[in-house]
Symmetry: none
């Protein structure tokens, strides 16, 4: 009777993902209080009750949307970073490029990320941790750059926070009007100009 336990688990994971995707799209388009769980259920082709099998409540679903999306991005970035062959400049470029690419591919989800969850401290901690991971990733690149004399930045931990902001600013009402490549190049140039040591060769 239980022979398909594992298969069911897989099935569940798929359903969970389906819900997350549907929810991400809705949360990205409308403010929290306008997203109805019935809409989410319908969009995910799932019963309303099923949502509660996978998520504790509406807030948990919301946070999970953020969390899973962000995790995916970080995971993706880590993959690229691992190759130590790259120097700080190349890594920084990778981060910015990938973040923009990610934002373009899943604009809904990326938009959601930016929201400040002003709720319970328990769930928030989890989310904060993930965010810090992202920040640390960038920070470490900058620090490495600094130690190599390539970058200069009195507060790398602050700079690390700006990166998502860049991307986000760029996407707001700009997706249609601005060429993606041009945008990416400009952001890259901007960041590099801001933290790269000016090579005053005399």
């Amino acid at each position: 009777m239980r022979k398909v336990t594992k298969a069911m688990q897989v099935l569940d994971e798929q359903k969970r993902a389906k819900i997350l995707t549907a929810a991400a799209k809705l949360f990205a388009t409308q403010p929290f209080h306008k997203v109805l769980l019935s809409d989410v259920a319908e969009a995910a082709s799932v019963g309303k009750g099923t949502l509660y099998t996978y998520f504790k409540n509406k807030e948990d679903l919301y946070l999970s949307v953020l969390y899973s999306g962000f995790s995916r991005l970080i995971h993706c970035l880590r993959d690229r970073m691992d190759e130590e062959a790259y120097g700080p400049e190349e890594n920084m470029e990778v981060v910015i490029r990938e973040t923009i690419r990610f934002a373009y591919q899943t604009p809904h989800l990326f938009e959601v990320m930016r929201t400040v969850p002003s709720w319970g401290p328990v769930e928030r901690a989890k989310w904060d941790a993930k965010r810090r991971e992202f920040k640390d990733l960038i920070e470490s690149i900058i620090c490495r750059g600094i130690s190599q004399g390539i970058f200069i930045d009195p507060h790398p931990e602050l700079t690390a926070r700006y990166i998502p902001g860049f991307v986000r600013s760029a996407l707001i009402d700009g997706i249609e009007t601005i060429d993606r490549e041009a945008l990416t190049d400009h952001i890259l140039r901007f960041v590099k100009a801001a933290i790269t040591v000016k090579e005053d060769v005399c």
Copy 2:
């Protein structure tokens, strides 16, 4: 018999302001759906029904809070810009400083920008216009700087979009942990480094 405009712009402008102020305080502290109109009414020392004399509904009140805040920011920036004594660098500093100050007071402002699309097209147009005003303001500063040989930026219109992003990034879960002055200084330094012409004097 004189009919009052449907726009509900008049009546007692002072009372309208009182409500806006009270509402702003509450909306800044809690997310939309946790702010009760009864609380707003009480905070404004006004009857619940009075809110509906000045605003169409809760959403209208919310948008008005943000809109009036944003307008005030732009107005304030314009005032400072007018004094032509200042050069582009000083102006840029003013913009960033004031925007940060504003963002601290109105943390939800940027929240709106994402969800504006889900409101009516009329409201959205109003917002887009205001947003463009803000962008143009910054862009003009950069352009002036460029023409004076102080700044260098291949795409001032893109840079103009980043500024709010900076501020926003800085505020996300950072209000408590980071010294506001330090943050401001760093952003300033960052932006200037990014667009200021490197004076390679040999």
Copy 3:
């Protein structure tokens, strides 16, 4: 300073009438709870507060609409009845004809009359009295007819109640489609057939 007391009284009476007319139109078109006092005030070109100068409250206004309209009809009928030259048959014809004419002229008001006020007993008494006046008027005609051997009716007080019902039935969704003269004739014929002694002349 008080020299225009009487003139003011006249003015007031006009304003009161203006309000009643406006209210009648609205109460006839919509159910009680959908008629807003602000609408009445606007329709009467009067301030909302003014309504309370002339009427105790919404219910009082409603009853006054009924009362004044009904009074006018009764007054009109009495005028015609006074001429004792007419016999019961002619009088009955006058009542029916005039009631229909009245209903056609002020359909709104006439429609309102038919509503059962299910409120306070005090106001209701006044209204009941007026209604009884109307009923008595008709009843007396029938009774006179009976005593003259022209009519036969075991319960004239019941028949008296049917008359408005006839008119009303006829008007419901029928004003446009049915010729008024034909309707009047038919009702007349119907009532007469019902209560006139069948003159079996052998």
Copy 4:
């Protein structure tokens, strides 16, 4: 995943009926705006929210109460008519008797007819159709009577409209004071006298 019709016609038909019954009792006793949905819910032993599962809103519930009542009346009349054993006179008696019985139970029915215009055109059409059904039912009885030489009536379609008017007139402020049986008998006698051929046997 089966979608439920928006018409909200299905679900638990029994529960829907329970709500209708409870609501009917309340709407019969009090005017629309004095009937609270919380009372309806309690009377139906149902949660307040459940009302909205079966009815769009308060008005829809109200109309449904009346509509279902009216439909039941017509259905009931049809059942009786079907038995062809009865002649036009008996049928007319059934109609009047049943209509009076119904009117006692649903005194507000006729209220609706006046205000239907202020509702949407869809609802109105439904009502008009039902009303016509009722009128046709009566008309056909009269016409049959005429063709059998029992009745005489130049305009059966007008007479058909009077019947509800009779009943209504009789009920206005008369429920308490008049014996129902006497009223019924009198109406019956009245109508019969009005349209029955006077058998002048010489």
